[in-house]
Amino acid sequence: MKKHDFFERTALEGDAKIRRRTFFSFITFAVASATGIAGWKWLNHQPQQAGALQPLRKTLETNEKILTSTFSEHRLVKTYPKSAAVKNVRVNSLIGTKENVDINAWRLHVQKKDGSTALFSLDDIKKLPKKDLVFDFKCVEGWSQIQYWSGVPLKDFITANGLQNEATMQYIGLQTPDKKYYVGLDMQSALHPQTMLCYEMNGQPLTQLHGYPLRLIVPVKYGIKNLKCIGTMYFSNQKPPDYWAERGYDYYAGL
């Protein structure tokens, strides 16, 4: 390469040609800028779909399709020794956990495909082998915290209770007993080996603030999907309603 070949990118041009070129370049620039501004205004005046501007909601759904098709249940969340877990586990939301739960009356309601509802007491759930999980819990707000949870992998619960047929559907929906908080999960995230129905935190039964008697811990999702105090579980091929997805957040919320 010659030393100054950049400065050989020259041409001899008449004043009129230069003026014309400059004029059209600036016109193009002005039109492109105006198009950009108009596009921005257009976008911001689009109707809202579940709390997000429609084109952005569509993009989130496209992202979701890409992410579901590339999802692998073999990719696990990083785990830590129990000693790394925090003692003061952050409470970020009380929606759906305000009613006191009478453990003798509480049952996990599982709606089956045939229309029947199976009921499980906490003792029924505790009969399955207990697993521990110490991982970095991630909130959609941006903070994260290493927390220690114990319970039964949802996949084990499904297998042990003959819900395999239900698990062929696309989504799982969960609700608190008062139905004030509800989430929808794609089945592959629900069946991820680290997704658990938890009844202990830091080796102790859950407190009411953390979702007593049973809550979902799904490390492949943001905290918003980790429903506290499960009342009902159901299966569907349509996206179950999701509290935060109705308020502008991404439905998938996957990590």
Binding site: M1, F6, T10, F29, L60, P219, V220, L255
Partner: protein, 233 residues
């Protein structure tokens, strides 16, 4: 007849002007996200000097309580940012424009001389091609930063599915901090860039729109910046 220098190819002008508003939207929507958890501050010896960001800053820009909105914009415009960036990098590679952009062996030494010149400490600056040494470093660094933002961005976005990437960034929290620092870097780049463009003047600026720069007296720009005989290039 005048001699015109074909300075900026059309493609580069498009990539440049598309990137400007897209990056602006990314930074703004990033702020909406950052607000929801804004732990970064400058602490020296236990004393807090600056908190990112003060309440007045947030309120002036209407940042508070818009996390969901910020995420919806961020994860849509990220596509435009990535695609435009990929097209720009591919173009510079295939067109050969990279030759004027990548720093060379002497760029780091020369960049110091350019800096002294720009600060009016040194009268002459080293001979340059399309860009001087400081520009080569800056315009290459901004691309490396862009790649860094995409990598750290994905590390925060999918820390389980892309756990290797998150590990590469030093973990989830580290990736978020890096993503933030890179953003501050863009803002600093922008401020210096604007100052330099204003300083260099209209002829240089309009070339980013028209692509051409008229060469006065039909002499090449770099011959107008002849080094004095006692300075070795």
């Amino acid at each position: 007849m005048k001699t015109v220098l074909k300075k900026h190819p059309l493609a580069i002008r498009w990539f440049h002007w598309i990137n400007f508003p897209v990056l602006a939207v990314m930074i703004w929507s990033g702020l909406l996200i950052y607000w929801a958890y804004d732990p970064y501050k400058i602490n020296i010896a236990g004393k807090e000097y600056f908190h990112f960001f003060p309440k007045s800053f947030y309120n002036t820009l209407h940042i508070p309580y818009r996390l969901a909105e910020g995420m919806s914009f961020h994860f849509a415009f990220a596509w435009l940012f990535i695609i435009n960036g990929l097209l720009y990098v591919s173009y510079t590679i295939f067109s050969g424009e990279w030759r004027y952009l990548l720093p060379g062996k002497h760029s780091f030494k020369e960049a110091g001389q350019v800096l002294l010149h720009d600060l009016h400490i040194r009268k002459y600056h080293p001979p340059q091609d399309k860009y001087n040494a400081a520009q080569r470093i800056a315009y290459t660094a901004i691309i490396v930063m862009g790649i860094g933002s995409v990598i750290t961005g994905f590390a925060i976005y999918k820390p389980v599915q892309l756990n290797w990437l998150t590990a590469l960034c030093g973990g989830y929290e580290a990736a978020r901090l890096e993503h933030f620092i890179l953003t501050i870097g863009y803002v600093l780049f922008f401020l210096i860039h604007i100052a330099q463009v204003i300083k260099t003047g209209w002829h240089n600026f309009q070339a980013m729109i028209t692509g051409i720069e008229i060469i006065p007296n039909n002499t090449y720009p770099n011959t107008a910046i002849q080094n004095s005989p006692d300075e070795k290039a």
